[in-house]
């Protein structure tokens, strides 16, 4: 059987490779997305003090350490049976909202956006942030860089450090927000709201008004009917920091809604011998292989998933955009994978609005930032929405608070089975008997992958630029017969 290997996938945080097998007819027989690394956080945290977990666990991913830091801190609240003070809770959510703005902006402008902004068929040399700046203008390019820098400052100021923050403790945070810093954060948040609105306009002009792109977004190749997962508040609106996990079925009906401590009733993970990463699936539906539909426990936890499970957004401008997206795409749920980009921008606007609300909250500069835990720790679960999916940390300790057991279900990991299916479907759609392996083919596989903004270090994260891939075609004897690669 012929084999196509995409290895290594570069411009990713972490490592990954794709093996595509062709049958004798030259059609795609199967696709394997392999994750070739394991570090073993679930084991080596054993014996460590629980209160050190926010700092240890965030070393899973240096691109979204804020997500791990806060999921871990919330697991500690639960473990030590202590509520954070109202001010501390708001400080955490303020940092987290700021983080979502910068993370989603990075993905849209630097990682995935170039495909749309420059066009999927444009030469790879132009399909990057420099091409984007060339097309949209230096002013917008500067805004992207400025937004990233300003938010780096916010994270360092509130969290202690710009990469791998240190402020999370059970019952609160280590540092209060000064009046001076608050004023500066409010100013940055105001700009962030404008920037998010501008980004939605860019998407509207370039993608929604372009029939060719819109057709691609709506095409069957990029569509899967799956279950969806995301965190919602008490009114079933999208929330990144807190709430219950809601799951809807492929029809959009509520399938389950659970508090963090109940996650084991709903999720299972499958082990395959050809990859180091596990495949989560819905326990009550079961694992039925790499297929979509109601009978398959495969679910997705992405920006689009979060919108699909919610009844709306908690801020006014983002909610308007939410209504517009579903009106345009024909109601909920939306199964078109590429619409994830649109959902991500709506989330960016929500994060910016929430950041602004919190920066104006009179409590945000309050001095009361810590509740000291007094109960004996035993077990705790913490869940946040990471940009790439629902993030679950589960800890069990002895009575001194030393870690005995730990379990993690991480953002991108939720989507591992779905990403595999998407890559396979796209490969099947475009590689046919006698297909010449071309630039365009690489590009279409890239597009499928990028919609998820996958993070395989976390599992894996994508950094600036496009995903360059190399496809090697082997004949049945394993002899290399063709190599196509981006130069």
């Amino acid at each position: 059987m012929n084999r196509i290997v995409i290895n290594p996938i570069t411009r990713l945080e972490g490592h990954g490779k794709i093996a595509i097998f062709l049958d004798q007819e030259g059609e795609v027989a199967n696709v394997y997305l392999q994750i070739p690394e394991l570090r073993g956080f679930e084991k080596f945290c054993e014996g460590r003090p629980a209160e050190d977990m926010p700092q240890i666990m965030q070393r899973i991913c240096g691109v979204c350490p804020e997500a791990h830091h806060l999921a871990s801190t919330k697991a500690l609240d639960n473990l030590f049976k202590v509520e954070p003070t109202s001010t501390a809770r708001k400080i955490r959510e303020l940092l987290y909202s700021a983080f979502f703005v910068t993370d989603h902006a990075t993905h849209f402008y630097i990682l995935a956006g170039p495909d749309f902004i420059m066009g999927p068929e444009s030469p790879p040399a132009e399909r990057n942030i420099l091409g984007v700046i060339g097309k949209l203008g230096v002013e917008l390019g500067k805004k992207v860089i400025q937004t990233r820098q300003q938010i780096h400052w916010i994270i360092q100021t509130i969290g202690g450090r710009g990469i791998h923050p240190v402020f999370g403790l059970p019952g609160g945070v280590s540092k209060a927000v000064s009046d001076e810093d608050r004023a500066k954060i409010e100013e940055i948040a105001t700009q962030a709201v404008d920037f998010a609105r501008l980004s939605l306009k860019v998407f509207d002009d370039l993608v929604l008004k372009n029939k060719e792109y819109l057709d691609m977004v709506l095409s069957d190749t990029y569509t899967h009917r799956t279950y969806y997962m995301g965190l919602v508040d008490e009114k079933n609106r999208v929330n990144f920091y807190d709430g219950k996990v809601r799951i809807v079925d492929p029809q959009g009906k509520e399938f389950a809604k659970y508090a963090p401590g109940e996650y084991l009733e709903h999720l299972s993970e499958r082990v395959e011998p050809w990859t180091y990463l596990k495949f989560p699936y819905l326990k009550k539906v079961g694992w039925n292989g790499f297929t979509d539909g109601e009978k398959s426990g495969i679910y997705r936890a992405t920006p689009l998933s979060r919108l699909n499970v919610a009844d709306g957004m908690a801020t006014p401008l983002a909610h308007e955009e939410y209504e517009k997206m579903y009106a345009t795409l024909g109601g909920k749920p939306v199964h078109h994978t590429l619409a994830t980009h649109w959902a991500r921008l709506i989330e960016m606007l929500y994060a910016a609005e929430r950041m602004l609300e919190l920066s104006r909250d009179p409590e945000i500069t309050g001095p009361n930032i810590r509740n000291i835990p007094t109960e004996v720790p035993a077990e705790g679960v913490g869940i946040v929405e990471a940009p790439r999916g629902t993030l679950t940390h589960h800890y069990v300790t002895d009575e001194k608070g030393l870690m005995k057991e730990c379990n993690l279900i991480v953002g991108t990991t939720n989507n591992y089975a779905a990403i595999s299916m998407t890559v396979k479907k796209v490969a099947q759609g475009i590689i046919r008997k006698g297909t010449e392996i071309t630039e365009g083919l690489l590009n279409r596989i890239e597009l499928a992958w990028r919609a998820y903004d996958p993070c395989m270090g976390c599992a894996t994260h994508t950094l600036p630029g496009q995903l360059p891939i190399e496809i090697a075609v082997y004949d049945a004897d394993g002899t290399l017969i063709d190599v196509a690669k981006r130069s």
């Binding site: 084999r3 097998f21 991913c61 011998p273």
Partner: protein, 319 residues
């Protein structure tokens, strides 16, 4: 003189070092003006094959982050060493093994059992483990093999310079890059940071050098954020950690955890911290000293948070 040729690579890492490289901001333009990046999987298209085809010593310098965890990390490290005139272990993982190096407290089998068998969400009654070579219906698939012990970069290849930090702060990164770009290089084997002395020397929190009767864990007390944390009984690692980062953690009222590695001239950071703490305990009574020391609940994970693979312990004995 032509532009310098530069490579960047991650091995077993979190990606934070790649983000830290970008954190130098607009100075990245100075780097672009002086150097061509010929290999950077995080941000560019070049493949292993491109590196294999380069002549030996054709890369001027390589910033290598991440620890050595599996056969692929090791293979690429050796290849890049051959192709590079100067090899830099960038960040704590490459320099000392860092937090993933804590896996050396356990056997590889116990790590695999925990992840693939015992975690409560895992449903794996067939006891399937990932394998280096797997036959699937369509053909054979391969994965890198995991090593039993996590190693730092200099434990498998010759390293010219070390850049500390998890991740290195932007000013530390720039200090190293400036030296590399201008050729004003320190002695081989140097650790590049603004300071070789203990972090306490640059920490703005006033230190009285108080003796302590009790050690506290960070969640147990609200410290005075304007005073030395160690004076208040929190295990702040600044006394035994190289400075240069700017002491941001203590200024956020959280103790230093030691990510910049040992001070100049010290081999084993953990032993240095331990001896510093010994002189701090306010007692001469053996029993009381033992009781106070017992308040340090995780000595191995605290003293060797970032440096276990390069410490004198290196790894725990496991069955």
């Amino acid at each position: 003189m032509g532009k310098l040729k530069v490579a960047l690579y991650w091995a077993s890492s979190c990606g934070g070092c790649d983000m830290a490289t970008l954190a130098i901001g607009e100075k990245i333009l100075d780097v672009a003006a002086a150097a061509d990046i010929v290999f950077w999987p995080a941000a560019m298209d070049f493949k292993y094959l491109d590196v294999e085809r380069m002549a030996d010593q054709s890369i001027d310098f390589c910033l290598f982050n991440g620890a050595i965890r599996n056969t692929e990390d090791e293979h690429v490290a050796k290849m890049l060493r051959a192709k590079s005139k100067i090899m830099i272990a960038y960040g704590s993982c490459a320099y000392e093994g860092c937090i993933p190096g804590l896996a050396n407290l356990f056997s590889m089998d116990s790590v695999l059992d925990r992840v693939y068998i015992d975690t409560p969400s895992t449903d794996n009654q067939e006891r399937t483990y990932p394998r280096a070579k797997v036959q699937v219906p369509e053909g054979q698939l391969e994965l890198p093999r995991l090593h039993g012990t996590v190693r730092a970069l200099h434990q498998i290849i010759d390293v010219d310079y070390f850049v500390p930090g998890c991740p290195p702060e932007a000013k530390t990164t720039w200090l190293a890059l400036e030296a590399l770009l201008t050729g004003a290089l320190p002695e081989k084997g140097s650790v590049i940071s603004h300071s070789g002395k203990a972090l306490c020397e640059e920490c703005p929190l006033p230190k009285e050098g108080k003796k302590v009767k009790k050690f506290y864990r960070p969640h147990q007390i609200v410290p005075d954020p304007k005073k030395c944390l160690l004076d208040q009984g929190l295990l702040c690692y600044g006394v035994a950690t190289r400075g240069g980062c700017g002491a941001m953690c203590p200024q956020a009222a959280m103790p230093c955890t030691g990510c910049y590695g040992p001070v100049e001239g010290v081999v084993d950071q953990g032993i240095h911290f331990l001896s510093a703490l010994g002189s701090l305990i306010d007692s001469t009574d053996a029993e009381e000293i033992a009781r106070i020391a017992d308040e340090i609940v995780d000595p191995a994970g605290t003293f060797y948070r970032y440096s276990l693979p390069v410490s004198l312990l290196r790894r725990a004995k496991t069955a």
